[in-house]
Subunit: 206 residues, 4 copies
């Protein structure tokens, strides 16, 4: 029986993959709960149940796991964002598309790591801030800056990017606090705010 292995599938490779994922998952949780600065490598290790030394077979430092996590996020989200951008006729359309995509991503992220947690345990500080979201943010910012530079009215591109990002993030964090998580509503709000300000907000209850 010729098992064709497209991916390395020996037992060794399997456990390696499992461990790598265990570390990434643990890191995601720990960063989420305690924040990047407060988190320690030990916290991450403890959560994996692996031996102390094992961590260092995969990553050399807290910074490196963080980077790996961010990379993952960027790798997943980058293509999506770029596709939306290519489809957008103008800045307005792009903002709409970007915010939509970002909130989808955010909700997905959140679902995933909340779901993955053991149900009994408390999760004190659930912050919207994970390396993935940070990386995605960077992508969005770059896109906005580029768009603004390209066409758009002669506004302060830097301020505008900062403001858009800020609105998206601020509303996004609030969105994650509510149940059920309503990405469409949040997106409508954020887009309205960015495009028309106070005047363009969806009426509540409408």
């Amino acid at each position: 029986m010729p098992k064709v292995a497209f991916l390395p599938a020996g037992k060794r490779e399997q456990t390696k993959l499992q461990n790598r994922n265990a570390i990434l998952d643990a890191a995601r949780q720990v960063f989420g709960e305690m924040g990047y600065d407060a988190a320690t490598v030990r916290d991450i290790i403890r959560r994996t149940g692996l031996a102390a030394g094992t961590f260092y077979n995969y990553y050399r430092s807290k910074e490196e796991v963080f980077a790996a996590l961010a990379d993952e996020g960027a790798r997943r989200f980058g293509p999506i964002l770029r596709a939306r951008r290519a489809e957008s006729a103008d800045f307005e359309a792009f903002v709409r598309a970007a915010i939509d995509a970002y909130y989808e991503f955010l909700a997905d992220e959140h679902r995933n790591w909340v779901a993955r947690r053991p149900p009994g345990e408390p999760h004190p500080h659930v912050q919207g801030e994970t390396p993935e979201t940070a990386a995605v943010f960077a992508e969005v910012r770059d896109a906005i800056v580029a768009e603004v530079a390209r066409g758009a009215p002669a506004v302060d591109a830097d301020f505008l990017a900062a403001a858009c990002i800020a609105v998206a993030r601020g509303v996004g964090d609030k969105m994650l606090e509510r149940r059920p998580i309503d990405t469409a509503g949040a997106a409508a709000f954020a887009v309205g705010m960015i495009l028309f300000g106070l005047k363009g907000l969806p009426r509540a209850g409408a």
Copy 2:
């Protein structure tokens, strides 16, 4: 017979005040430079010149100094904000006034602690995040929520507050990165963004 002190003016009380202030100043600087998480009580003590134990005569932990600092900011800024609020005819006016006041405060804060530093030393991460600004932020948010609840169109008050806050903070941080610090310009931008969105932004170069 205990000397009755109507005002704490004895030598003892004086040094107590001095020490308290030394600690607060040091904490302000340290939090500003390294960020709250990375900062250690030791860092604060070192900058103070006081003995390690002395710190604990005033505050029980890093958290407590942080709170004290936040408190101070709130105490200074609260009255200002409330006055502006009373003077404002409508929400629009209030937003304008609040943002103005916040940016003034921000610039002032920033000036103070940058100025207070020994000139030769490097200050790596001048972050916009200090306990004071955080506290002030809380005030502004409360005010916005209240205003929104009071009158204003029937929008999602929570989202709106988050968005306003986010814009104010995002633009404010950018403002602090530029030289000279232009509070008026930043305020115009932020207000325009909040009230009218993209359409209401000041044209660059105008």
Copy 3:
């Protein structure tokens, strides 16, 4: 009763001195038993009975304790050696004086730290090599080089110093292995060897 304190004599200073000495003693022992390279800071700490952190209130690293120890040796022996050197009419006399002084020092060192040890414990590797002896060695070598450079026959000064040092040390180490420790005999041997080689050695049993 006016206790005049020539040296700081508060209880604090006393314990500080005690701890510093405890650390130096422990380091001396540990270096002696395991050799400098194999020794760890933790080994030293363990032997003092102090807390781990306390070590770092006194020295920043293994290197620093070693330097302190070496310094101590040099400070004690340097003056002795220089005095002998000044009194010596020629190189021969100097060699004699230096070797004498060195072996006295060596025996003294050895006595001290063997005596200071708790009697029951085993001391596996008692080596002649301590930081103090190393420092003293450096002094002796410098002196020899200087003397050779000054007058002496036109021999290879570097080789000569190396050879003298080597003889002194080789014979010295053997001397420490014997009981009773006979510094006079060892010195006679070493001096004879250095000045006249095989031909000049004291006859055994004479």
Copy 4:
């Protein structure tokens, strides 16, 4: 039916030999560069290119490789020394022959492992101390002790051996520091020193 191998010449045996040698070579280099104490099994393995576990199929510890290395040196040098010894009419001749042989060996060793190193890399501490030299030393010492015991004037054999060894080693180390490496000169010096002391040294420049 197991293939009977009279000489280990199968493929298996060949790689086994190769690995063993790879480990010994690596160990020689590592010990030479970092010193025995500082060297770790990991360092040796890394240089080998073999897997970590493979090391333990050949040696059980750092100590064991060291011993193997020493053994090798002794096995190579022993016969040479014994031959010289047999040829020597008296102690003087033996000393001369032994020192000559030792310095040849030393220079050879040194040449070999310095030459074997990749040329670009720095080699910080070229120490004269390798297991091989140590083993050879032991041989020389034994020979001296035996010779002294046999004939020779009634001197302290132990001290004498120590002194000869010390001179040989001291001068030898210095020799290795110079360029070009002059084994004849060093040998002349050491022999002169041992036989006649200061009076018997070769005049520099002669």
